[in-house]
């Protein structure tokens, strides 16, 4: 079996059309929207602020707390069960781990930075869209970061390597999904997960293509952040 043409007619390393906007939630300290194809992530950052419960406070540094949530109507028609679950808890944790390496919260002992990632519409690649939006929102909140973070999924569908899988490809019976988060300037990887099976050579190839795609995402992030404070008139 070979995968000749992608389900939505894209090229094999073509990513879905992206758009981004920063500063969408005036009440938040930082906020951003990132849309890639039919997947849309909204992100609001509050803080640094006082952390409760008190036992979670760390006197050495501020902490990052991410809440990932798919809205009940966000899927493909079937209702997503609202509220936190095993899956959203895990994704919140991996997102936290992928964003912490760039953040410096040493100036904020005992405090917390709360990040809320909401997904009103999903078509696979939600954690990647969430990370991309969260990185923009954290920068918008004026926090110290040594780099941005961009994320995209790469993977395999039958015999082909594809970038930015949509839901049909992600749920394909003979496939593999690899979300990758990259610090675009240093090239370091901050998130690498894999669901499915893939050969060593194809894995290397997939990661390389994900890195290339992240450069395009970085350009979108940069443009959105700069547009926030651009000269009007």
């Amino acid at each position: 079996m070979t995968y000749h043409k992608r389900f939505d007619g894209r090229g094999f390393d073509e990513i879905r059309p992206m758009s981004a906007k920063v500063g969408i939630i005036p009440r938040a300290d930082g906020s951003a929207m990132f849309k890639i194809g039919n997947t849309m992530a909204l992100c609001a950052v509050y803080g640094p602020r006082d952390l409760h419960p008190k036992f979670m406070q760390n006197p050495e540094t501020g902490i990052l707390r991410i809440n990932y949530n798919m809205m009940p109507f966000s899927g493909h028609g079937e209702r997503v069960r609202p509220g936190g679950g095993r899956r959203s808890k895990e994704i919140s944790m991996v997102m936290q781990n992928s964003l912490l390496p760039v953040l410096n919260l040493k100036d904020y002992p005992n405090a917390v930075v709360d990040v809320f990632v909401e997904l009103p519409q999903t078509d696979a690649g939600t954690r990647c869209a969430g990370i991309t939006a969260a990185a923009m929102a954290l920068a918008d909140a004026g926090l110290e970061m040594k780099d941005m973070v961009c994320a995209i999924a790469a993977g395999r569908v039958e015999d082909k390597i594809v970038v930015d899988l949509n839901y049909l490809e992600d749920s394909h019976e003979d496939g593999c999904d690899i979300p990758v988060a990259v610090m675009p300037n240093s090239g370091n990887i901050t998130l690498l997960q894999m669901d499915g099976e893939i050969s060593r050579e194809m894995l290397k190839e997939a990661i390389k293509k994900a890195r290339d795609a992240c450069k395009k995402i970085y350009d979108v992030q940069k443009a959105a952040l700069k547009a926030r404070f651009a000269q009007r008139e």
């Binding site: 300290d29 930082g30 803080g47 640094p48 602020r49 006082d50 006197p59 501020g62 760039v102 410096n104 100036d107 904020y108 002992p109 005992n110 405090a111 920068a139 918008d140 909140a141 004026g142 926090l143 110290e144 970061m145 040594k146 780099d147 941005m148 610090m183 675009p184 300037n185 240093s186 992030q221 940069k222 952040l225 700069k226 404070f229 651009a230 000269q231 009007r232 008139e233």
Partner: protein, 241 residues
């Protein structure tokens, strides 16, 4: 390898963006050195001062700094003082000793001096590494605020609201006949007749929105002239430059 600045002065940069190549440039606040490059550490506006490259923050929370004049709100009354909230991740303590030179007997009701919900202008006298903050009421202009209203702005925009030597806030004061106190923490208290207060609030919000753009003083002067229908005194405008 050539040494050069790769961005323009006053350009908006994002974290991780390369600002300059070469060891002869020095990283200022908001930037760091990565091998031989100077790199942005936050979202901000580039400011080149000779060989030093620094970033002016455009957003962020207030971090308490010694000797800052701030506006705080009493959120708790302690055994020997008051706890203040000042629009930051941390809270400040005002002790009896720093609050007044009156003799206060043991067990006195401290709410007679400052009650819950009162706003006061005070000065930070000490900040520890764990961000425990001590404030004092001893100094010129430090007092309890009675009446008026409080406006909240981003703490990063406060220098623009104050202006050079207080010229901007003086201009608003003169044009709207309001009494204004600007705290470094982004809380602003104003008191005057209602129509003047409304114009002052509008002017402050306009400054906050356009703080990163040039020619601010003249734009605010025209705005105030239009709103108040009076000429904004030239002497004040002259003082702003």
């Amino acid at each position: 390898m050539t040494e050069e600045i790769v961005v323009q002065d006053k350009e908006i940069v994002v974290p991780g963006e390369k600002l300059a190549k070469g060891m002869s440039f020095l990283p200022g606040p908001g930037t760091y050195r990565d091998n031989d490059c100077v790199v942005a550490q936050k979202l901000g506006m580039v400011s080149v001062e000779g060989k030093v490259i620094k970033l002016i923050s455009l957003s962020g929370k207030y971090l308490p700094k010694m000797k800052d004049k701030i506006i705080g709100k009493v959120i708790d009354v302690l055994m020997t003082g008051w706890r203040l909230d000042f629009n930051s991740p941390y809270s400040a303590v005002l002790t009896l000793k720093d609050a007044t030179s009156d003799f206060i007997p043991r067990g006195a009701d401290l709410t007679q001096y400052y009650a819950l919900g009162d706003h006061i202008v005070c000065q930070i006298v000490n900040v520890t590494s764990q961000k425990l903050v001590d404030v004092s009421m001893k100094g010129p202009g430090l007092r309890k605020l009675r009446g008026g209203r409080i406006v909240e702005v981003s703490p990063m925009k406060v220098p623009r609201i104050i202006g050079k030597d207080g010229s901007m806030v003086q201009m608003i004061k003169d044009a709207t006949k309001c009494d204004i106190v600007v705290g470094q923490n982004g809380l602003i208290w104003l008191d005057g007749d209602p129509s003047g207060e409304v114009i002052a609030v509008k002017a402050i919000k306009k400054i906050e929105e356009e703080a990163h753009l040039g020619g601010l003083t003249s734009r605010i002067a025209t705005f105030l002239e239009k709103e108040t229908g009076q000429k904004v005194s030239a002497a004040v405008q002259g003082g702003a430059q």
